[in-house]
């Protein structure tokens, strides 16, 4: 009977370990941004140049594109659903022969195609919003915005495909019958990689601000 007791004790330990969950904290920080409400449009000004971390900056002169995707959502105080969402994509490519940077920005306000002479100017073009309209026709009230900026994000589809390549290169398709694989029914050849969804991410929310028309 003692042995049976041991079995139950071990099962309990497994359960206990399982129940001690550690949940990741989103860790959103708060930044002060500039806001104005002009002609029924909410204009915001802030910088998120810190998304250009060292690894991202190194790539800027590689001749290959660097993409920064910004997602901004405007929330009414106490609301869980955004009043408006503002997406923005910025791509920087170094032109090897002209020795300048092509900056391509797209957002709901339109598109910008620029050539700038220095890396810092390219970063400023991408990493700063200045009096940018992000929402319209907001009611009177208190609001805040949440911002997510990602450098070189990967699409979910690409991430999924990469994981498949990692775990199952050509030549490794296998029978799904139990017992036919290498070390019995438990076996999988795990080739594990951390696949982040982007190379760098900046997440923050603004201070509360009031729209009083």
């Amino acid at each position: 009977m003692n042995r049976i007791h041991n079995v139950r004790m071990i099962l309990s330990v497994v359960l206990l370990i399982g129940l001690v969950a550690v949940r990741a904290d989103s860790g959103d920080s708060t930044r002060r941004i500039g806001t104005a409400y002009v002609n029924n449009s909410l204009l915001v000004s802030f910088t998120f140049r810190d998304v250009f971390r060292q690894a991202v900056r190194i790539k800027l002169k590689s001749g290959l594109p660097t993409t920064v995707v910004l997602r901004l959502a405007v929330y009414g105080q106490g609301e869980s659903r955004p009043e408006a969402v503002f997406p923005r994509t910025c791509q920087i490519v170094y032109d090897l022969w002209e020795e300048d940077f092509l900056v391509d920005i797209k957002d709901p306000n339109g598109s910008i195609h620029k050539r700038v002479s220095t890396e810092q100017k390219a970063v400023d073009q991408c990493g700063i919003l200045h009096h940018t309209p992000v929402a319209r026709d907001l009611e009177k009230g208190t609001y805040f915005v949440k911002v997510i900026a990602e450098a070189n994000p990967l699409s979910p589809e690409l991430v999924r495909n990469i994981k498949k390549w990692l775990s199952r290169p050509h030549g490794s398709a296998r029978s799904r019958a139990p017992g036919e694989n290498f070390f019995g029914s438990f076996l999988s050849i795990f080739v594990n990689q951390r696949l982040g969804t982007s190379e760098a991410t900046v997440i923050f929310r603004s201070q509360d601000f009031i729209i009083d028309r």
């Binding site: 290959l64 979910p156 594990n192």
Partner: protein, 508 residues
Amino acid sequence: MNKVMNYRWITVHILIAGVLMLLRPQAASAQDAEQTEEQVQTEQVRALPDQNILEMSTNDSVKPPLVYVLEDIVVEGNDKTDTDVIKGFITLKKGEPFSPDDNRLIMARYHLLSTGFFSSVRLLLRKGSERGSVLLVVQVVERGTIVVQDIALGWSDITPYGGIDVAENNFLGSGIHVSAAVVGGRDQVGSRLRFSYPHFLDLPVGIRFSALYNHAKDYFGNEEISIAGNAETTDYATVSYERYGGSLGISHDLGEERFVYVDYRFEALDARLPTAASHRAGGVMQPIEFDIRPDVSFLSTFRLGFELDTRDDLYLTRKGHVAGISVELGSHILGSSYDFAKFNFGYDHYVPLPWSHTIKASLFLGLILGDAPFFAKYFIGDLSALVPSRVLEMNFAHLRPSMLNTSIQEKRYEDIAGSATFEYIIPLYRGYGFLYGFDFFFGAGLIGLASEQDLYTKPQGYSDFGAVPIDITADLGLRFNTNWGVFGISASNFIRLIPSVGAAAVED
């Protein structure tokens, strides 16, 4: 009492995986970005219309897209890996015009990373010899490619045993994957050597080859086993056998989610078995079928398989499904001493629940028609989580499941198998750093194992429900997804660590 414990073995099966690559996603195309943007837009409550204001009016003139001509591909940092192997992953050709955001560049980088040969892959462009031409530079940092893929340790009612599977993923820098596995226990030793080449002759197929040698025993019979020539009964009738041979196969990807493969295997078998033996099964003495030819025989088969895999994550899956079907044929036309056809169908379906948990439903059906050697049949330990599975198709235990006390406890190697199980998966942690996440899971299901004869004749000694050869399997535990690989630990692993627990249950 406690039928679950009606076995006497200890085994721990530690899953170790892993290729220690440090992947740093760096690239993304404009298309990717647009997809992200689209996702945002579909979620948004209201986006601003494309109109007016302020700085948008300051656009410069629109420039034509940047296009270069590829002058050459330069590989840097590869001491071990052959340059041509790396260039084989670049689908751009010399002299070809291309844009810097060409999706093939992104794919090439991740395909290179997926080989496991490199801890880092960086692509960049350099000026070529003429204006407008560029060199594509592939900078790699090689990593150790020898990895332990799996370890098996156990202690059954017959013998302690252990095994290890080690792989070299970049053999002599050629890109060939080589792995060697050995397992041993009392009077048993098995080994297997495998080669696979993901990009054989630049063809869209992978090729693989394996060689095996098993010096093995298996243990037949249930109770009161009598062997011809022996006056006394024994615990089991032993078959000693050797297997020499291997397989050769190719696989082909039909897109990202579908795979087909064909394998041919040939083995020479040399078996020594009792002239005759009988045992008590279902309260009746019956002859023991060993299902292998005495002395030398040959096994020659072709297997064709297809797999569909739509899982969102192969390690900690939340949604999608994976289905596989295969047919293996052995025939004297192929030189085989065993004529049989083996059909397998497996299906796993993952259903995400609104509160982030996942239910996994699994179904397996297997049927063998004809005369297959016992090790090619369905083994009880490969169906039940509560009975030790085989290692390198070698069995080190003589145990039977009996939770429901049905006729399945007389079954070991049979021709008809099925299982229907479910698993409830609770994600407990997702994060960064060494530990990417871990899930808690628990599951249960029904397994069935029968001979063709059971379809026509009720097993002797069993009546009503007991005649149906089914049993319950159950397990619970944790799966850890780490930088070093995926580790699984479950209650069945722990139970197997307790000495003589089966004996205790019998005594109860």
